[in-house]
Structure formats: C-alpha cells, structure tokens
C-alpha cells in the first residue's frame, strides 16, 4: 500500500491521503511528493486525511508543517482530517490543532 496518494477534485481541492507510519525513514520523500503537488497544482484548498496513519514521529509532524507552509505559499486553505486518537494526541502536543483546523470549538471555561 502506498504511504501517500494525492488527488485533485473538480472544485480545485487537493486531497492528500497518508497511510501507515510516517517517520524519519519516509517523511522527507512524502513531503516532497505533497509539496510538489501543492506548488504545481495550486489548489484552492488542501485536505490531508490521516485516518490510516498509525504513527507520526517529529519528522512526520514536520512533513505536515511543510505541506502547510506550501499551501500557505499558494494561498490555499489547509486542513488535516480524521486523525486517530493517538495521532490526535501527538498533534495536540505539537500545538498545531488550530493551525491544522482540528481545534475543538472553544469550550466554556
């Protein structure tokens, strides 16, 4: 199974699906693929689906950051979707839930 697949939908949205373990062994290659797709496709928005990702290390998070920066460069909206609970924990620790569009609606305090 491929670690990454990239599809452009009709309304100019780029759908990126990531799978398996994203770590120092593959992150830079995957980042390259995703970044190139964003820079060359100039989509209006980028969605990264993490439902099938089982593990992210710091390099894996770094890859999401690079994708976010690339989306920012072409002015595309950037969202990360469907992380598992474990991956969500890691993203929460990275402080990027808001930037990735994963923040809970503001809770009453």
């Amino acid at each position: 199974m491929r670690t990454v697949s990239v599809d452009t939908s009709v309304d100019g949205r780029l759908d990126v699906v990531l799978r398996g373990e994203l770590d120092f062994t593959n992150a830079s290659q995957v980042a390259k693929v995703v970044k190139e797709a964003i820079i060359s496709g100039r989509p209006s928005s980028v969605r990264v689906r993490l439902a099938e990702v089982t593990f992210l290390d710091s390099s894996g998070i770094g890859l999401l950051v690079r994708a976010m920066k690339a989306a920012d460069e072409v002015g595309a909206d950037f969202r990360v979707e469907d992380p598992t609970d474990k991956v969500l924990d890691q993203l929460r620790m990275s402080g990027l839930l808001e930037a990735f569009g994963l923040a809970q609606p503001p809770a009453d305090t």
């Binding site: 373990e21 593990f55 710091s58 990027l96 930037a99």
Partner: protein, 634 residues
C-alpha cells in the same frame, strides 16, 4: 585419408603445438598462473599475489619463475578433465564408422533364414549397440512354399523406443505383423520384399504412419532407409516430428543462452558454425565461418595473458573455460568459450570444438553492480563521517556536565542518552543557566530530523536561547516567540522546546512550551503535569504566540523537563509512555529528605532507544532551618 590431407593435418597440428608451446614457455604465463591460483586460494587480489611471489623469490634468492612454478605444483589440484572420456567415445564412433558402411552386396536370402543364424544376429546387435540412431534389423519369415509371409525383429538399437513406448531390447524376436500391424501391406512392407529380392537399398517416406494404442490412434511422419545386410534388412528410422522438435529445441536453447557452437576438424580443416555463432559474431551465414586468424585478431590485447594461459591449459589436455573480450563490429563483447578436443590415441587433437556464449549482458551488469557497490561504500562512508561529525558537533555544542549544576536556589542535573543508532544522533539540547535579570532559565528542546542538519539547527537554537536570556528577556513565552521566528526564517527544520524560569527571590516558576511534552512537577511523591495550552512547535507558523503559565516551587520540589524520546513509542500512546516516568518520579520524591537527582535520572528508562533523549531535573534547595527551631510555630 589422402596423403595431402594427412600432411595438412600434420601441419595444422604443428602450428597448434607451436602456439601452445610458446604459451607454455612464457615466464609471464607461469607467474600469472601462480598468482591466479594463489589469489583464488587466499582471496586476495592478483597483483597482491604477484607481489607476494616476488617477495618470496627475493627471500629465497631464486628467480620469480622458479618460485611461481613451485607454487603452481603446490597449489594446483588437477581436475579430471572430460577429455579422456571424450577420447574414448570418439574412438568408439570412429570404430563404428569404419564398420557401419556395408558394401552393396547382391545377396539372395537363403530359404528359411528365420532361425538360420543366431550368431549373426548377435553380431548385428553389437554393431547396433555401438551406432547412433534408431535401427531395426529384420529377417523374413517364409511359409512352406517359400513365400514371404512376415518379418521378425532380430536386432534393435538399445536407444530405440517405439511409439507404444516399448524399449528396443524387448522388441527382439517379435513378429512385425503382431507388433506393427498397420505396416502389413503398406509401402514399407513392399520395400522389404523388393530389397530382399534385388539386394538394393530402398528409401521410403516420409510417409504418414498411423499408430494405434488401445483406443487411441496417432499419426506420425516417418521415413525409413532399408538396407539389405547379410540375410536380413537394416532399417534406419527417422521420426520427422521428433527430429524437427529436437532441432528447434537446440536452436531455441542456443538463442536463449546466447550460445553458439563451432567445430574445427584438424584432419579436413573444415570449420562448422551453428546459427547462433553467426549471430554472436554478427556475420552472414552465407560468408561461412570466420577464418581463425581473423577471429583470433578480434580479441582485445589486454586479454592476451588470459588467452595464453588458456592455450597452455589446452596443451595439457584440459578443457578451456575462458571469458575474454572481443571487438565485434566496433562493439566490445564478453565471450565465454568452452573449448575441448577430440584426441587420437596419442592425445593429439583431431577435432576441436567449442561452445561460445555471449555473456556481455551478464558481464556488464556485473561491472555495473561493482560500480554501484563502490558508490554505496563511498556513500556509507560519507554517511558514517556525517554521523560522527554530528555526534562530535553535538558534543561540542552540548557538553553534558558530569556532576550537578549548582544554580541560585536550585540544583540541576542532566542526562543525555544518545540514540543507539549513530545515524539518529541529532537534535536534543538543554539549557540551565542564570539569565541577565538574575532568574534561572531552564529549557530542553528537540529538533526534528537527525544528523548534521539537525545538530546545526540545535546549536543555533541553544545559542540563541542563551544569548536572548542574558540580553533580552527571561520570560518563557517571549523566548519561545523569538526562537520560533528564528527557526521559521531559517526554513529548515521544525523543533520543539519547553522553557521554565525560576525566580530565586519569589520562588515563582513560570513556563511555556512549543509543541513539547509538559514539564513535570513532583512534590513529596505527588507528580503534576504542568499542562497548559501548548503553543505551536517552533518554525511552523510565522506569527505564533506562546503563553506563560506560573506556579510556585516549594523547597525540595523537583521539576523535570525532558524530550519525547523518554515517552514516545510507536506502539504506545503518550499516556502509556508517560506512566512509568510518573511512577519513578513519585517514588523517588516520596522518600524523606532531599530527593537525589542522580538516582532519579538513573532510574528513568526511555521508551524509545532509537531516539535521542535529554532529561533535565532541577530541585529547589531545602533552606537551612531557621535559627530558632519552632519559631514559626505558634
């Protein structure tokens, strides 16, 4: 053999021997052969083996050739070459060839030859045993009136297996009408009668022959040559389908294996090449085989020593197996030649035949493979050098103190566990020093990635933090904001960090974090995660902001900052990874008296040995008891 032919043969033999002889006499060949054997035996390079032979010669004060020859006799384990076997089979063929052709004799068969000459049948069987091909010898069976009514098989080639699968030896003695009923009355049947009548040879076919086996019938294309022999008839059978298949199979094998086959008859000076041989030498079959002088000239001069060694081996009666290069139509081809000879009783070659295989593709891929391996080795070396440099750089940038670090109101200790794989050493760092305003700044951080790039980024962050803390601010959130800008601008890696500030005057502890695990505060066996809203990791968002939270540090409280190698593991959740850390921290701080930091750090086990781990523990001093004990009570 004509006199001319014989002289030609002797001349060609003399030429061949001269070639072999010149090769044998060459000192170079002896040395190279010895070096080759030595290299093969001890697994060194040939030039190293040659150097060794020269050294030995110098030590023993002998000439190199003598030492080489001695070495050859010591090292050489002579292989049993197939030449003896080949010679024997060749002799057999030649013997049979002399026996086989029978003069066309007019011969009137005697009446009732059926049982006439059992001794004759046995001799014929011996002849058939020595002859290649599928032959059957029949004798006629006549009735009382002398009319031919049937035929009996009296000798059959051992290798013959008929269409019903019956082997030759089991067919002897059978009647044709019983064994092959479809032949009765057919063209072959007629040819037998005619041949017996006039003693002339007959050729029948190719004709379709219907073979019945139980219910099955199959048709085969056969031809037979009928030759009157003594009182009987020698039938030489050829199955065309089989022969065609065999020829096709050989041709296909040649093509698949890039194999060509050639033969040089020294007696007749005739050279024969197979089709694939023409393809290998890119020559039109109409032009005939390449003259030997021309094909010898195709060899690359660099391979001359190899060819001379091979010629020498051939002279000793060995089979040559040589891979050398030839320049064919402007291209270099690697050709493997397996060459052997049919020799006469004195061991002189009569016929030389060789199988030539074009191994260019294999040789090229072998060479490419060697190149790739060399590149790989070079790359691995440079990677290794990079890892060493990264570890070295980290050591320079991040010297880990042997003992505790004494600070105002705090004692701190650091433990750094480098990744078990050298390649993953990289980006963890710590900071524990007084800031410009007299407060104490404690921090740990982690740069994504490993190797030289990560180590360089780590150095940048650590030095920036140290400088900022002295010159600009000690506020944890402000420090992180600066570090984020720095890393974002560098557009290299991302990083995480947790920064804490202890004010020795107020005992306030402020902290902030950027994508980093929460600091842990342990107080007398109770551990609290200093969780807050974590700010984004460093270098991800241009205008990221961070929040500073505050708490108090009581005497004996232990603050633990660490990087994620301590708790992160791909098969566990972060909470699962954190649990053993909390347990150790709780246990160590529950003991009465000031918790020993070294014990604490030594007891912590990291979750992920594949990652760097950096742990910084700080304990607030327990102030000396007031001068008047119990003064505060009341």
């Amino acid at each position: 053999m004509t006199t001319d032919g014989h002289q030609g043969y002797l001349r060609r033999l003399a030429e061949l021997e001269a070639q072999i002889g010149s090769a044998r006499l060459s000192a170079d060949v002896v040395c190279e052969r010895a070096a080759g054997l030595l290299a093969g035996r001890i697994g060194c390079r040939i030039d190293e083996a040659l150097a060794h032979i020269r050294t030995v010669a110098a030590q023993q004060d002998k000439d190199v050739e003598t030492v080489a020859a001695a070495m050859i006799s010591a090292l050489e384990t002579r292989q049993v070459t197939p030449s003896v076997r080949l010679r024997r089979s060749a002799e057999e063929v030649l013997r049979v060839a002399h026996q086989a052709p029978k003069p066309r004799q007019r011969h009137r068969p005697a009446v009732s030859v059926d049982d006439a000459a059992p001794g004759w049948a046995a001799v014929v069987q011996q002849v058939l045993d020595a002859m290649p091909g599928n032959h059957i010898v029949l004798v006629g069976i006549r009735d009382d009136a002398g009319e031919l009514v049937d035929y009996r098989l009296v000798a059959v080639s051992r290798t013959l297996v008929d269409l019903s699968g019956t082997a030759g030896s089991r067919l002897i003695g059978r009647r044709v009408s019983e064994t092959y009923p479809t032949i009765v009355g057919g063209p072959v049947w007629q040819a037998w009668a005619d041949a017996l009548a006039d003693g002339q040879q007959r050729q029948v076919g190719p004709f379709p022959y219907v073979h019945r086996d139980d219910e099955q019938a199959s048709e085969h294309l056969l031809s037979v040559r009928v030759q009157p022999v003594g009182p009987g008839l020698l039938n030489s059978w050829v199955r065309f389908d089989e022969q065609t298949r065999l020829a096709e199979r050989i041709a296909q094998t040649e093509r698949l294996g890039n194999l060509g086959w050639g033969e040089w008859d020294l007696v007749t000076d005739a050279t024969v090449w197979s089709d694939e041989m023409y393809r290998i030498y890119e020559r039109d079959p109409a032009d005939g085989p390449l003259p030997r002088e021309e094909s010898d000239a195709l060899g690359l001069p660099e391979d001359e020593p190899l060819r001379r060694q091979a010629a020498e081996a051939f002279g000793r009666g060995e089979t040559i197996d040589l891979t050398a290069r030839a320049m064919i139509k402007g291209k270099v081809k690697h050709l493997r030649a397996v060459i052997d000879a049919v020799r006469d009783v004195d061991g002189r070659p009569v016929k030389i035949y060789g199988i030539i295989q074009d191994v260019t593709a294999r040789e090229m891929s072998r060479l490419k493979l060697a190149e790739v391996q060399e590149e790989l080795r070079a790359q691995q070396q440079s990677l290794l050098a990079e890892h060493r440099l990264a570890a070295h750089l980290q050591h320079i940038v991040l010297p880990i103190p042997d003992g505790p670090i004494e600070l105002d109101g705090l004692r701190a200790a650091v433990r750094y566990l480098p990744a078990e794989q050298a390649s993953r050493v990289g980006g963890d760092w710590y900071h524990a020093a007084a800031a410009g305003d007299g407060t104490i700044v404690l921090a740990v951080g982690d740069v994504a990635g490993h190797g030289l790039q990560a180590a360089a980024t780590m150095a940048q962050l650590r030095h920036a933090l140290a400088a900022l803390a002295v010159t600009t601010t000690s506020d944890p959130a402000d420090l992180l904001t600066h570090l984020n800008r720095l890393l974002y601008a560098a557009d290299a890696e991302t990083g995480t960090a947790a920064v804490a500030r202890f004010d020795p005057a107020t005992h306030d502890l402020a902290w902030a974090r950027a994508g980093h695990p929460a600091p842990l505060l342990a107080r007398a066996g109770t551990v609290t995660e200093l969780s807050d809203r974590p700010g984004p990791l460093l270098g991800a968002i241009r205008r990221a902001t961070y929040d500073t939270s505050t708490t108090r540090l009581d005497p004996g409280d232990v603050l633990l900052l660490y990087t994620d190698g301590l708790i992160e593991h791909r098969s566990r959740t972060l909470d699962e990874g954190l649990a053993p850390v909390l347990a150790v921290l709780g246990r160590v701080t529950a003991e009465p008296g000031p918790p020993p930091l070294e014990t604490l750090l030594g007891a912590l086990r990291r979750a992920n040995p594949d990652d760097d781990t950096c742990i910084l523990a700080a304990r607030r001093h327990i102030e000396a008891p007031p001068a008047a004990p119990g003064a505060r009570h009341g």
